[in-house]
């Protein structure tokens, strides 16, 4: 009885499945086939009924038997149907599997491992699309031909080698479509074994990751450009401070030499000549500095109106790799309700970058301090406050005053330019850049920046 009861929900499900096209046709066909079996059952029932009417005496008893047999029949009938269901389900499953394999965006293929030359015996549609070959061109063909002739032979050899050892391969390679177009192929190939352990097939899945790759490359390029601009900016600032420092003694030397020339007026021609050489070389040195300066002239700021949060997110993204590699976490707590600011994007990005890299430096080698938080908030009607807070080494009191001066650094490979350049940028934008130690640990560098007058709400 239980089996019969159990069946009913399955039967109820039928229409649900059969709604899907392709499957429904098959189901209705099966229903028709089962009709003759129903008529046999009816005949039997009729016979039983006749026997029951013959034997009046045992009517009640027979009634019982009939009921029992009817139940039995019902049960057997149910069983037959359940076998049919099983067949149907199996068929459905194969169908669904094929459909699934064809609708996935990943390329799927199966290689016969027991024939030489790795013939492909199955491919789904995505694989065909990815490689650019038709199903007919693929089936039976050496799988390794499908990478294209320009594929790196070392990688191909490595994949083959891994497969022949009965191991799984997982990696990324540059492959070529039939028409020569290249794509980045994220590939996994695994051996399939029979019960005795012999590898009978290889099954592979591949994904076209060209877009992701390109995006990664783009980010990398942007980052390198940013770092380049930062370095050039620092160098310019460095040269300009250096020029200032050097121009002082050059001024003195020039004046001393000219004074000496005048004192000697008309006497000591040899000394006069030497003094003239000193003056000439002094002027030569000045000229070198002058040229160096014009070479690294700071470009004029280009002011535009933009959302500081967007710039912070962009900068955070560009620094993401650095942050991860250094085992740190960069968080943002951005006030989403801020007006636009007016400023030079690239210069302000330099400021953010300098502050972020300083914070990362300050947290270097401290596994317990990992968090770096950049936050924005409104400060009064005309200003926005940007804070870069770290949990690093903090700033010793005696260094507090020197932080922003040229050349001040506590790092072996530091130029000591990052903060002085950042402060001059922020001040050119009408804001202020300051530093403070956090109450618990680490430091916070914060700056204000004026909002775009047109956007004051």
């Amino acid at each position: 009885m239980k089996t019969i009861k159990k069946k009913s929900p399955k039967l109820k499900q039928k229409p649900l499945i059969s709604k899907k096209s392709g499957i429904s046709l098959k189901l209705s066909g099966q229903k028709k086939k089962s009709l003759p079996k129903n008529s046999i059952r009816n005949q039997k029932r009729r016979q039983l009924k006749r026997r029951a009417s013959d034997q009046d005496k045992t009517r009640n008893h027979l009634g019982e038997v009939i009921r029992q047999q009817a139940d039995e029949l019902k049960f057997k009938n149910g069983q037959i149907r359940s076998w049919e269901d099983k067949d149907r389900l199996a068929e459905e499953q194969v169908h669904i599997r094929t459909k699934a394999m064809d609708s996935t965006a990943d390329g799927i293929f199966i290689i016969d491992a027991q024939k030489p030359n790795f013939p492909v015996i199955y491919t789904n549609q995505s694989f065909q699309k990815m490689t650019g070959y038709t199903k007919r061109e693929i089936l039976g063909r050496d799988y390794f031909d499908l990478y294209g002739t320009d594929a790196d032979p070392r990688i191909v050899r490595e994949i083959k080698h891994t497969m022949l050892q009965g191991k799984s391969f997982h990696g990324e390679m540059l492959s070529f479509q039939k028409n020569g177009k290249k794509y980045w192929d994220l590939l996994r190939i695994a051996p399939v074994r029979d019960p005795s352990g012999t590898v009978t097939h290889y099954v592979g899945i591949q994904a076209d990751v060209t877009l992701i790759r390109e995006r990664d490359l783009e980010i990398k390029e942007q980052r390198e450009e940013l770092l380049h601009v930062t370095r050039v900016g620092k160098l310019a600032e460095f040269v300009s401070s250096l020029a200032h420092e050097i121009s002082q003694p050059l001024t003195a030397i020039l004046s001393y030499a000219q004074a000496a020339q005048r004192i000697l007026a008309g006497r000591e021609p040899q000394l006069q000549e030497i003094l003239q050489y000193i003056i000439n070389d002094d002027q030569r040195a000045s000229e070198v500095i002058r040229r160096l300066r014009s070479l690294l002239k700071k470009s004029k700021p280009t002011l535009e109106s933009f959302d500081i949060n967007v710039l912070i997110n962009e900068t955070a993204m560009l620094m993401a790799t650095d942050v991860t590699v250094r085992n740190k976490v960069l968080k943002t707590e951005l006030d989403t309700n801020l007006p636009a600011i007016r400023g030079d994007r690239i210069q302000l990005q330099q400021v953010l970058l300098n502050l972020i890299s300083n914070s990362l430096d300050a947290m270097e080698g401290r596994d317990d301090s990992r968090e770096l938080v950049i936050s924005t908030s409104r400060k009064g009607p005309n200003m926005i406050l940007v804070e870069v807070k770290d949990s690093g080494c903090g700033i010793p009191a005696e260094n507090m005053k020197k932080l922003f001066s040229h050349f001040f650094t506590s790092k072996p490979d530091g130029l000591g330019m990052g903060l002085s350049i950042s402060r001059s940028i922020v001040e050119e934008h009408g804001g202020r850049l300051e530093a403070k130690n956090n109450p618990d640990r680490g430091a916070t560098f914060y700056f204000t920046i004026s909002v775009d007058k047109k956007d004051v709400s």
């Binding site: 300009s240 020029a243 200032h244 420092e245 121009s247 002082q248 003694p249 050059l250 001024t251 003195a252 030397i253 020039l254 004046s255 001393y256 000219q258 004074a259 000496a260 005048r262 004192i263 002094d282 002027q283 000045s286 002058r290 300066r293």
Partner: protein
């Protein structure tokens, strides 16, 4: 002090620059006094004292711009020549606008400075 000798004050926070400029100016018969900060200059020399001032722009403490502003605000007629080691194309214009009689980029030729002093004073 001979009455025909012109008085020149030099304010620069670099001592060597002060000494060298003084050495040069003395050969042109100027009477020269040097100071390594604007504060020192103000406390030693009254606004009324005659003399041309040669002053560096970039100094710690009160910088040349501010010191110059002060002199102008006092109503003093003292001629001021600003000098700077920072290369900034806007400085000359800014100096002249503020009322300075001249601006020189360091390092400058002694002759230029002398000519400038003689021109204005």
């Amino acid at each position: 002090m001979m009455p025909d000798k012109k008085q020149v004050y030099i304010v620069d926070d670099d001592e060597s620059v002060c000494r060298a400029l003084k050495a040069l100016l003395v050969t042109y018969d100027f009477v020269v006094e040097t100071f390594t900060s604007a504060e020192k200059f103000f406390s030693a020399v009254p606004y009324s004292a005659l003399g041309c001032l040669i002053m560096d722009v970039h100094m710690s403490g009160m910088d040349g711009w501010e010191a110059h502003k002060r002199i102008v605000a006092s109503g003093s007629k003292r001629p001021v020549i600003l000098i700077s080691g920072d290369k900034n194309s806007g400085f000359k214009e800014r100096a002249l606008k503020a009322g300075a009689v001249g601006f020189l980029q360091k390092p400058f030729n002694g002759k230029m400075l002398i000519d400038l002093i003689n021109q204005v004073f």
